[in-house]
Amino acid sequence: MAADEKDEGAEFADFMADISQEISERVESLDAALPAPAPPLARKVATPSLSSDARMILDWDNVAERMIEEML
């Protein structure tokens, strides 16, 4: 429990090591199981890619409204 006794950042380094190991193992198994990805199509229109930000809350206007609603 005495995490504060550890060097700053050591906990994160340990975490990174574990997660890297886990991901590499799982990605290897998936790579073997999945077909190779199709080659990219010729570039058409520059559409914004579906980034991982898709799960972040970006509609701040709506969010602010909800927050105000809840406070009332």
């Binding site: 429990m1 005495a2 995490a3 504060d4 700053e8 950042g9 050591a10 906990e11 994160f12 380094a13 340990d14 975490f15 990174m16 574990d18 997660i19 890297s20 886990e22 991901i23 590499s24 799982r26 990605v27 290897e28 198994s29 998936l30 999945l34 990805p37 890619s49 579906l50 980034s51 991982s52 898709a54 799960r55 972040m56 809350i57 969010v63 909800r66 927050m67 609603e69 809840e70």
Partner: protein, 200 residues
């Protein structure tokens, strides 16, 4: 829900810290943030009242860099614990991949823990998730408080952990147990990489 995108070579996991008010959810994120090396320290967004209660939510993006060719990011959120922020909790849960339930070990908070857990299950179900299969770990926080003020771990586990998910004692204020929980939920979420992509 898939957390791996082979097209963009990205792995993104959304993890939500859930629990009753003042159980230590924000403290968990603050400890994680304090441990990040400078080059990985992004912005921790925190909206709090003057008395440090979480007003809306906290958001900590964890960019882990490229692992096995995948740009890997964990997005850590907390929800406001107070009962009247129900809609906000539901909103923050959208697209969640895993939940850390931060329970307050104080004996007098047991009812609040149970209420919050029920609230979690209802909100997950409302969002179309199966609460029985959502990756979940239990954190019994505030173990640093005097023994006479807190419930034994066995009692908390009996009352709260009916799914038998991984559980950890913690003292988030000093960092104890924080990374153990994060590691555990990350592992559960990543385990789904090899499972069929399905909601819930």
């Amino acid at each position: 829900m898939s957390v791996v995108n082979y097209g963009t070579r990205e792995i993104t996991c959304k993890i939500v810290y859930y629990g009753p008010g003042r159980s230590g959810k924000t403290t968990n994120l603050q400890h994680i943030y304090s441990q990040l090396p400078e080059e990985r320290k992004g912005k921790m967004v925190s909206l709090a009242t003057e008395t440090d209660r979480t007003l809306f939510f906290d958001f900590l993006p964890l960019d882990l860099g490229t692992i096995s060719g995948f740009n890997t990011r964990f997005q850590l959120y907390t929800v406001p614990g107070q009962v009247y922020y129900a809609a906000t909790r539901k909103l923050v849960l959208q697209g969640v991949d895993g939940v850390v339930f931060v329970a307050d070990s104080q004996s007098r908070q047991l009812a609040e823990n149970i209420e919050s857990l029920q609230d979690l299950h209802e909100n997950l179900a409302d969002d179309g998730f199966d609460p029985r299969t959502m990756p979940l770990v239990m954190q019994y926080n505030k173990r640093d408080l005097p023994a006479e003020e807190i419930s034994p771990l066995e009692e908390l586990d009996n009352k709260l952990n009916f799914r038998g998910v991984p559980h950890f004692p913690a003292s988030a204020i000093s960092g104890g147990g924080v990374f153990e929980c994060l590691r555990s939920i990350a592992s559960l979420v990543l385990a789904r990489l090899s499972a069929p992509a399905a909601k819930g």
